[in-house]
Amino acid sequence: MKKLAALSLILSMMCGLAACGSSGGGSSEGGSDAKDEGGSDGKVSINVIAAQYGQNTKTWWEDFVKDFTAEHSDIDLTVEVESWNDIYTVVNTRISNNDAPDILNIDVFANYQADDLLLPAEDFVSKETYDKMYPAFLEQSDVDGTIWAIPDLASARALYYNADILKDAQVEVPTTWDELTEACKAIKAHDSKIYPWGIDMTTDEGQAAFAYYTWNNGGGFVDDEGNWTLNSDKNVEAIEYAVQMVKDGYTNSDPANDTRYDLQDMFGAGQVAMMIGPNSIPTYIADGGYSVNYGVAPIPTNGGVDSVSAGVMDRFMCFDNEYSDAELEAIKTFFDFFYEDERYSEWVLMEGFLPATISGGEILAKQDESMASWVDIVGSCNFYPTAKTEWDDVKQGVINVEQQALLGGNVKELLDELQNEIAE
């Protein structure tokens, strides 16, 4: 009997592992269940899951809910703010339990669309609000001619350089890969303790490195028809170049583990001379108490290609929870309220992002000159092909290729393998 009891105890303890594979718990703050149309008090309820962009996001949404409820007392709005670490777990758990949120603010949408869980954008956003969006941004959420999500904000990437280090090492800001290599050589010779070039090939954001090098070598994730071209010669050349930079000792010592935030800290502290980073770096550097003399320039390119900035865009989408007309109206009201020009500008500025609406861009460009050039950049940059359902696999796949290449793997063979896997 004792043995039996001991074994059953062991069994129950091991279940921690088995349970781990299922739905991880999500922290919900009273998110309402499915749809409870016209609850006892006759209110229409909407629940939103929103991504936490930084320290200010939660407070911003709390104020938003207060303002919204004050103006629309007939709508019961609940907003759950989830960190980027948890949001996918929370959303997937809710979906598996038939409890999808009404509105979701996240980066990707294709998987939900592929499962027929979403409503077309034009069904849940008023025409007036829909027309505010940059068309190029809306196109990023196009599947088979229908737009399934609307952009909430964007960020763009550029080259950041430490002007003092470049001056001391007597090098100009590089515009091509050859110039970049030469600049790295000169900086290394000038001070061997400084990392001339910052590279992030981590699980966090290694796909961005893939984008920076391949796009600026005339390659990329997909061709003009949207077919995957992961193993193109241009891509192989680009990744080999990036990995060679690491092997030559021109970069941070551990690109597979140094995240962008580690690099930003090292850049702020004057330990990294140049890195590709988002438009929010100035805010990050100021918040971190760093005082580095830096400049911003286009990302260096190869083979006469025009410099391409990498854009990152997040979205709002609406799950098809079989809404009544009143509920759909409430959702439209929510978006009209969110995208009101002044409120929307506050949203974008809150964590130092870029606007996704034309009017928002105009307002911010007027307010801040440095913002104006970023608004231009974001209007013309390339985006990840997140509208394709294979994106998750491609994203993890290219990160794996980079890390395998760092460990000595053959880039061509690795990319061929990935391309075949994705094509299957």
Binding site: K2, K3, A6, L7, I10, L11, S12, M13, M14, C15, G16, L17, A18, A19, C20, G21, S22, S23, G24, Y88, T89, N92, T93, I95, S96, N111, Y112, A114, D115, L117, S192, K193, T202, T203, D204, N252, S253, D254, A256, N257, D262, D265, M266, A269, Q271, T389, D392, D393, Q396, N400, Q403, Q404, L406, L407, G409
Partner: protein, 293 residues
């Protein structure tokens, strides 16, 4: 009569709440995982139908899985064995009378009482090449001129993670063994001393057999905890580079929430569950039988 029936049922009534809790929070999720591992699951997490063992074959055919399985075995064996040996030695030391014994015992609790994520972050901060405190200390002491890269390879990272795992596991072993040591009657040692037994004879003939049950408990629990441990590896390397520091748990997390392959993640989970079930059952049955003898 009524009283008799109640007395018979009483124990079951008392354990009923825990049985209900276990069923709701343990049994049902397990059934879900098993079902998911045998199903085709969409990336958004919706079950599309029965797929047999397709998830298992896909997982087992992937090159990463073999590496991850090997890592998991190395990780579990290294952490459990080394922390058990070191924890046992430490318990023997702490069982002696010496000045400051209470303080030493209190200090021992710290690594155990601190959250694993905090522990792992602290270790990461110590060994970092660029801003790590270990390099800073050595530089300040003038022992080195330039920061040393403590983690030049994936294997080096994994070794640090194992070291961190051992560090946080030792206190648990120490306290389990210590409680066993304190229950040993000192007259055994007195008798052995009179009979002329030396320290090692006493250790192997008296101490070891009498603390065996405590060691069994700590070892079995540690095998389970360490095998399932997620925070240390996730905080320090996230399994990078290219799965070289992944264990089954971090690997299945990535499969489920980074790659959207929840069916395959469930399959990995079931495989891990089976391995643990076999190991723990064999160990338990073996040691309990030996105890009965």
């Amino acid at each position: 009569m009524k009283n008799k029936t109640f007395r018979k049922a009483e124990p079951y009534i008392w354990i009923l709440p825990s049985i209900i809790l276990m069923a709701v929070f343990i049994l049902i999720p397990i059934i879900f995982v098993f079902r998911m591992s045998l199903s085709e699951v969409s990336k958004a997490g919706i079950i599309r139908g029965f797929s047999g063992f397709a998830n298992f074959t896909k997982v087992m055919n992937s090159s990463a899985f073999k590496l991850v399985l090997r890592n998991t075995i190395v990780w579990t064996v290294a952490v459990v064995v080394l922390s058990t040996v070191l924890g046992f030695i430490l318990a023997l030391i702490l069982n002696n009378e010496f000045r400051g014994r209470k303080i030493a015992r209190a200090v021992m609790v710290f690594p155990w009482a601190t959250t694993l994520v905090i522990q792992a972050s602290a270790w990461k901060f110590i060994i970092d090449t660029d801003y790590g405190t270990l390099n800073t200390l050595l530089l300040r002491l003038g022992l080195i001129d330039q920061g040393i890269n403590w983690t030049p390879t994936a294997e080096a990272y994994f070794t640090w993670e194992i070291a961190c795992g051992i560090f946080v596991t030792i206190p648990f072993v120490t306290f389990c063994v210590l409680s066993g040591l304190q229950s040993i009657d000192t007259t055994y040692y007195e008798a052995a001393t009179v009979d002329g037994a030396n320290y090692w004879q006493q250790l192997f003939q008296i101490t070891m057999p009498l603390v065996r049950s405590s060691l069994t408990v700590s070892t079995v629990l540690n095998i389970i905890y360490v095998f399932n441990s997620f925070p240390i590896i996730w905080t320090i390397t996230k399994g990078d580079p290219a799965n070289h520091t992944d264990t089954l748990v971090t690997y299945l997390y990535k499969l489920a929430f980074y790659n959207g392959k929840q069916g395959q993640a469930a399959a990995v989970s079931v495989i891990g569950f089976t391995i643990l079930l076999i190991c723990a059952s064999v160990y338990m049955v073996y040691t309990l039988r030996k105890g009965d003898e």
